[in-house]
Amino acid sequence: MIPRSPLQALAPYLSFAVLMTLAISIGLGHPRAQSKAPLDPAKLAEGDKLFHARCGYCHLAGGTGTIMLGRRLGKDRALLAERTDLTAEYVKKITRVGINGMPPHTRIEVPDSELDLIAAFIARPPAARTPAAPAESHP
């Protein structure tokens, strides 16, 4: 492996089509919407488990998605499960349409029912964030 170099963070590249899709569906620039639905710990735990199973290929520590996000947005925003700035709607849309190098995911690979749980887990409010989300590598 080559030594880690001081990498310039890449500008967040988004195609016009993806930008428009996001702007229409979630309203870019709007403050992060907080869900008013009561928290269900069992559903959050299920979302956590599904996140590891479906997204863990790339989005756990050392994964390719984590590395790419770290370069683009900084290391403090690289681990999806620790992000506090993502809404559930944003997570769902990006999963379906992809972003930069991340491909879209079909409704067979991640069914809507699973994606709802995963998105709710990633967008969970601060009160549901203790203990911190596990970040070990995929088994």
Binding site: S5, L7, Y13, R71, T106, R107, H138, P139
Partner: protein, 519 residues
């Protein structure tokens, strides 16, 4: 993506077929929205994704449901494109050759049916991914090792059927196939090898059965839908010994291949080493804009600056010996002596013993990190690979390397190549990395690909596998006796698949119904 219908099918019939599919799998597993079609497109396409837009997708949960769907496809005369997990990245991903084709997504069929430790095999459904099988082996402490490709997001079954490869002694994945269950294009079901007996204990031990052997007929083919596969796995060795070296000069790949090929053939080296140019390391870790912003191919002097900064050679080589410690040490001595004839450099040695962490063992450990190369050009990255097979010797390897690099430079794409050495041949993967929204660059990539196919055909080199946009081009180069192989393939296709419902155009094999769609 808006609906594009397959040829000869009207919208009413298409919709009726989808309704009939829903009767088999449930409405939830018939995917036909604009967004659904988008998710099945070739996401890394070099600027021509819309030419392979699928019409819809349907996801069966069992072989019986596959049979029912295939029968309905015959009834409504709609074409299906079977995929395992749809991660054929760089070769078309989940997308069909012919637009409007309905993707038959087997991703819900993900049972690990059996793992046999004594005889070293597993039996899998097509939706089982490399990560799934790896987790199963680890969690159950089964001492069997997998062969895993560089990007391991996909299906074990799908990768073996597409003749993907890994880097262990079991690295030729298609060679590990032993006994399959297949739904034929009419909906009938067969089992290959001794699986054709209803009670054989040898189905996943003995490949050949009685009479013609059929397993490979269903690899890179559109003659059936594989719903179950037996696959041999490698027993965990006592130890491994890795030998790594950076080769400083472009032509060093020639002597390295000449020295290693006889050792690969006689078994001193049992795995398939990859000798890759160091741009693949650099591209996976830094963006091109950090080094060079000009048009055209990355100049050699810029590349040399990068390599010097990171102490990389022009090529990197990574060999691995598997087995008993003493034998590995003896084989390492032979390899070191062969290299000492050409270089003063010492190998970096990496040792692993049973019980050490598996990550540095040389076992197939799934990862997706190879995908990071697509960030090289920035934006929404993508890649395709042109991968001819050539005799493993310096004459062929150096001629192919120099002529390919020259083509990259003429057309203005950064050269990114590797040679993976097998016992008698080498596969030369030439990667083209681009920003999918840079239309000038993606056009150059498509132009370059076509030129490379033509150049290779002149030398008599075929590709071991290709992208869906170039299947007709590659098939055309199989021209012996006025394309006798195409006549054979299409005679078989028409006999097995009279309505042409399975994967029209795959590998350049077109059923008579759609033969006019050949590029």
């Amino acid at each position: 993506m808006p609906l594009i219908l397959p040829p000869h099918v009207d919208e009413k019939t298409f919709q009726k077929a989808l309704d009939a599919f829903a009767g088999v799998v449930g409405r939830q597993w018939v995917l036909a929205t604009d967004e659904d079609r988008y998710t099945y497109m070739d996401i890394y396409a070099p600027g021509d994704a819309e030419t392979h837009t699928p019409g819809a997708a349907v996801g069966p949960a069992s072989a019986e449901e596959v049979q029912a769907i295939v029968r309905l496809a015959n009834e409504y005369k709609v074409p299906l494109w079977p995929i395992s997990r749809g991660k054929n990245l760089g070769y078309g991903a989940a997308a069909p050759v012919m637009p409007g084709t309905i993707v038959l997504d087997l991703g819900r069929m993900k049972k690990i049916i059996d793992v046999d430790e004594r005889y070293g095999y597993c039996v899998l459904e097509p939706g089982v991914g490399f990560f799934d099988l790896f987790a199963h082996l680890q969690e159950n402490k089964i001492p069997l090792w997998m062969s895993v490709p560089a990007n391991a997001w996909g299906s074990v079954v799908g990768n073996a059927l597409e003749r993907g490869y890994g880097y262990t002694p079991y690295g030729e994945n298609t060679r590990n196939i032993c006994g399959m269950e297949i739904v034929l294009p009419t909906g009938d079901m067969v089992r290959t090898g001794t699986g054709a007996m209803s009670n054989s204990p040898n189905w996943h031990l003995f490949k050949y059965g009685f009479g013609p052997s059929w397993d490979q007929v269903f690899a890179q083919s559109n003659f059936g839908v594989v719903t179950k596969m037996g696959m041999w796995l490698m027993p965990e060795p006592e130890a491994t010994l890795g030998l790594r070296m950076q080769l400083p000069n472009p032509d060093d790949v020639g002597w390295a291949i000449d020295e290693l090929q006889p050792l690969r053939l006689n078994g001193v080296l049992q795995q398939n080493p990859s000798i890759g140019n160091s741009l693949r390391v650099v591209a996976s870790q830094t963006p091109r804009s950090q080094w060079y912003q000009g048009d055209g191919a990355l100049p050699d002097d810029v590349l040399r600056t990068i390599l010097d900064e990171y102490h990389l050679g022009w090529w990197g080589i990574d060999l691995r010996l598997y087995g008993y410690d003493e034998v590995n040490e003896a084989h390492a001595k032979i390899i070191k002596a062969a290299f000492a004839k050409h270089t003063q450099q010492e190998f970096e040695v990496v040792k692993w013993h049973r019980g050490d962490p598996i990550q540095n063992s040389g076992a197939g450990v799934p990862a997706t990190n190879a995908l990071q190369i697509i960030n090289w050009r920035g934006g929404r990255g993508g890649h395709v690979g042109f991968s001819p097979v050539l005799p493993a010797n310096s004459e062929h390897v150096l001629r192919q390397f120099h002529s390919t690099k020259k083509r990259y430079e003429e057309i203005g794409v950064d050269y990114y190549g590797s040679f993976t050495l097998f016992d008698r041949y080498a596969i030369n993967v030439n990667m083209m990395v681009y920003d999918r929204d840079d239309h000038a660059l993606t056009k150059k990539v498509r132009d370059l690909f076509k030129v490379l196919v033509a150049d290779a055909a002149k030398e008599g080199y075929s590709e071991y596998r290709t992208h869906i946009s170039f299947m007709d081009d590659v098939a055309l180069s199989f021209d012996y006796n006025n394309h006798a192989m195409r006549r054979l393939n299409e005679t078989v296709k028409d006999a097995l698949d009279p309505n042409g419902v399975l994967a029209p155009g795959k590998q350049g094999i077109w059923p008579k119904t759609y033969r006019g769609s050949r590029a």
